[in-house]
């Protein structure tokens, strides 16, 4: 525990997992907000703008938390992973700098216009602001995924004279096939989170008989987008991501599946506990030959097991990797079922009267967050023991002059700050949900509100 590497990894893992609770919602919501603003423009019905207005508020809160928790991530590359940054900056510096200059400027310039500019901008320009935020946040996602994809499957680079990495082909690096597969999977997963949250709030209002119109639009959008996204996140995007892992990280695939001994017609583990010491899966419930088909499209394909690889190449936390992957896949399957039933009831016009189903939709919203987090745990634990797969080990990457005590200090600092921020955030969101959608306030834009605390010195 005095090993600084442990604390560096814990800090990065904690801060990035916490950070990503916010962007997964904003990226998903951004798409739905564009849809509502677009429908408002097209149909002229006020309910779409009312729905968008409420969700833009939630978007703004999430975005703010995403920004303040995201800024440290950019710096932690240098503070905590200095050796890695030095080694790879000539390559990943490109995408990280692209994110700042192409995505962050776009998002930050138009955020206030989206959140506060509905009356000033008018319908068309407000729709344009929504599109700008959608494009900015999805671009940002791409640059981060492209950076991560290089760590998973390095391409477009070569070794420079000084022993660090340099760009050999910018196009090959930015359009890494791994990045494209992972991006599609990740973005659709963000839409799953957005849809479930929207559906949950719609269900909550419907159960209470409040804000009926906006509840109806939120429910319908959430359920339809939720079903489409839940299907797409599994097939083809999740499936393609699995193929990618099978092709480029076969030892990771074996660990994810708790597949210790290789062979043809490899079974897919549904449930079971990896027993690494005895090299077996305890209490397995398996589907025969399915892993062979998923990995290679052939039921009789040979899938190598962990024991086919040198132990120095094994992921360092096989148990957690296995559970993270299975939690993600298991939840993903449940999402299809929940949204499938909800969409069926919606089509039969019975969703709003199916109280049991509304309760399920309400209570389901935390699970996409868990699935997204588990998915990222799978990607990042699966990459171990490498920081850049096949090139650079995690053990080589930490800052040489930062010791464990310092890193624990800052980790505890983040834990405290993020706990307080999280409590304030949840309170504010619950307050907005209780408050419900609001009409566009009447009156001159610059008139001080009568309810305001004007003249009250504090």
């Amino acid at each position: 525990m005095t090993d600084p590497l442990f604390w560096h990894r814990l800090q990065f893992g904690f801060t990035v997992a916490y950070h990503y609770l916010f962007p997964q919602l904003t990226m998903g919501l951004a798409l739905l907000i564009v849809y509502w603003k677009g429908m408002g423009l097209k149909t002229g019905r006020a309910v779409y703008d009312d729905t968008a207005r409420f969700w833009i508020k939630i978007f703004g809160l999430n975005f703010a938390l995403g920004v303040v928790t995201g800024v440290p991530m950019e710096f932690q590359f240098g503070t905590n992973w200095a050796a890695f940054s030095h080694y790879s900056g000539g390559v990943i510096g490109q995408t990280l700098a692209m994110e700042g200059i192409f995505a962050f400027f776009l998002e930050s310039s138009f955020l206030a216009l989206l959140v506060f500019g509905e009356r000033r901008l008018g319908r068309v320009l407000h729709f344009a602001a929504a599109v700008a935020l959608f494009v900015g946040s999805w671009l940002s996602g791409y640059f981060i995924i492209a950076t991560n994809a290089f760590m998973q499957n390095p391409v477009g680079h070569r070794l420079a004279a000084d022993g660090t990495l340099e760009i050999a082909s910018l196009v090959a690096f930015v359009l890494n096939p791994w990045a494209i597969a992972q991006y599609l999977h990740n973005q659709i997963a963000a839409v799953v989170t957005g849809s479930f949250v929207v559906a949950a709030v719609g269900a909550y209002w419907r159960l209470r008989g409040e804000h009926v119109e906006v509840a109806r639009v939120s429910l319908a959008t959430g359920v339809v987008a939720g079903l489409v996204a839940s299907l797409l996140v599994a097939f083809p995007t999740g499936h393609n991501q699995g193929r990618m892992v099978a092709a480029h990280q076969p030892v990771t695939l074996a660990a994810m599946e708790g597949h210790f001994h290789g062979g043809a017609r490899a079974p897919l583990a549904m449930i079971g506990q990896p027993n690494v010491a005895e090299r077996k899966l305890d209490n397995p419930v398996q589907l025969p030959a399915l892993l062979s088909w998923i990995a290679y499209g052939d039921f009789s394909a040979d899938v190598r097991g962990l024991t086919d690889f040198d132990e120095s190449l094994w992921p360092t936390n096989i148990e957690l990797l296995y559970y993270a992957f299975h939690i993600m896949v298991g939840l993903g399957t449940i999402f299809i079922a929940v949204m499938g039933v909800a969409a069926l009831q919606l089509a039969r016009r019975k969703l709003e009267t199916s109280r049991w189903l509304l309760w399920i939709l309400l209570l389901a919203f935390p699970f996409p967050y868990i699935a997204n987090t588990a998915g990222w745990l799978t990607a990042e634990l699966g990459r171990q023991p490498w920081l850049i797969h096949g090139l650079f080990r995690t053990a080589q990457g930490a800052s040489p002059t930062v010791h464990g005590g310092t890193t624990l200090f800052t980790t505890l600092g983040f834990a405290g700050i993020y706990l307080v921020l999280g409590l304030v955030f949840v309170w504010l969101v619950l307050r907005e949900v209780a408050h419900g959608p609001q009409p566009l306030p009447a009156g001159r834009p610059d008139a001080p509100d009568a309810r305001a605390l004007s003249g009250n010195p504090s």
């Binding site: 809160l61 240098g78 940054s85 030095h86 700098a97 138009f110 660090t164 002059t401 305001a452």
Partner: protein, 348 residues
């Protein structure tokens, strides 16, 4: 090409200081220049649409370092480890204070975030200034190109070094004075009524403080880091930048007296740009001077990414920079004129 990327990095940092500098100045002063909730919202209306975009210039500056001088980013951020985290936490406090305040119309809620906004906006310039002081003073870069600095070791900027000593604190205080002055001029430009009058009064108080501290800091730099001034006679860029900073400072004073608030603010911006440009031009090509052995110093040539990577960046970076400037111009245009306190739910 290395010179070009050094210049890009310097430009990003300088623009960051000019832009986020007025946010910090306004935030640090807002408790005194804005007394009522409406006045506070007037201040927030002036900086609200800009602060997030302004902070991105810091991230983009980091991006340039990562892309073009990865060794400087790696050694600098890990060497100043704790100081960097203090800055990050201060920036978190600043951001949430601005963004969360308007969500609840309750006096205690708003007082709390106003205080957070003021504290964070006061600390950030001191930390950024101290960082600049460390770069000027030099840090104990070793043979491998790494260093580690405690937050403080002794008050003297020699021997056992820390991030904070009398010299770096002095630079932090100059930065604070200059950015308070800058923020006061920004608010004088963008507000009217009592906030405008109080901002102008603060600007006139802060001008002498800025000028005196600036001169003291320059003299201290000549004492602590004489290499900063070595050979400046032969560096025309230093002279041009010095001219800009003097003209800018003069303009910030003269134009304010004449009641030309926007010109005064632009003068202050020119003063900050000129100061940072003069520093960049005089220390070039050194990024981080080693106090152990000048041969260990991290310089632009010995810490740059390979030519292939630098060239790859040139294909897209200037295009991105133009886009960023276009967004800024659009925002300035949309928010031209005096900022008005927004109605509840319609703004910060």
């Amino acid at each position: 090409m290395i010179e070009l990327w050094f210049a890009f990095a310097a430009v990003m940092v300088a623009v960051y200081v000019v832009l986020d500098g007025f946010d910090f100045g306004a935030g640090a002063l807002h408790l005194t220049v804005a007394k009522s909730d409406t006045e506070r919202r007037q201040v927030l209306a002036a900086i609200g649409p800009f602060w997030d975009g302004n902070e991105v210039w810091l991230l983009a500056a980091g991006g340039v370092l990562f892309l073009a001088f990865p060794k400087v980013l790696a050694a600098g951020l890990s060497g100043f480890y704790l100081a960097i985290f203090l800055l990050l936490w201060v920036l978190i406090l600043r951001g949430v204070s601005i963004e969360l305040r308007s969500h609840v119309a309750d006096p205690m809620w708003r007082s709390f975030w106003d205080a957070g906004f003021a504290v964070a906006s006061t600390l950030a310039p001191v930390l950024l200034g101290a960082a600049l002081g460390n770069v000027l003073r030099g840090v104990p870069v070793g043979a491998e190109g790494w260093f580690a600095l405690p937050l403080f070791a002794s008050v003297r900027p020699s021997g056992a070094l820390g991030v904070l000593d009398w010299y770096t604190v002095l630079i932090g205080l100059v930065a604070l004075a200059a950015l308070l002055h800058h923020g006061a001029l920004f608010l004088a430009w963008k507000t009217d009524g009592p906030v405008h009058a109080r901002s102008r009064a603060w600007a006139s108080r802060l001008f002498p403080a800025t000028a005196v501290l600036w001169i003291a800091a320059t003299a201290a730099t000549a004492e602590v880091a004489p290499r900063t001034f070595e050979g400046v006679a032969g560096k025309p860029l230093v002279w041009a930048a010095s001219l800009l900073l003097v003209a800018g400072l003069g303009t910030s004073f003269g134009a304010r007296r004449l009641g030309r608030d926007r010109t005064a603010f632009l003068g202050s911006a020119a003063f900050l740009l000129g100061t940072l440009a003069a520093i960049a031009a005089s220390v070039y090509p050194t990024w981080l001077a080693s106090t152990i052995d000048p041969a260990y110093s991290l310089t632009a040539p010995n810490s740059a990414a390979s030519p292939a990577s630098l060239r790859a960046g040139l294909y897209w970076w200037p295009f991105g920079l133009l886009l960023a400037l276009a967004y800024l111009a659009l925002l300035l245009h949309l928010h031209r004129g005096k900022a008005k306190a927004a109605a509840e739910g319609e703004g910060y």
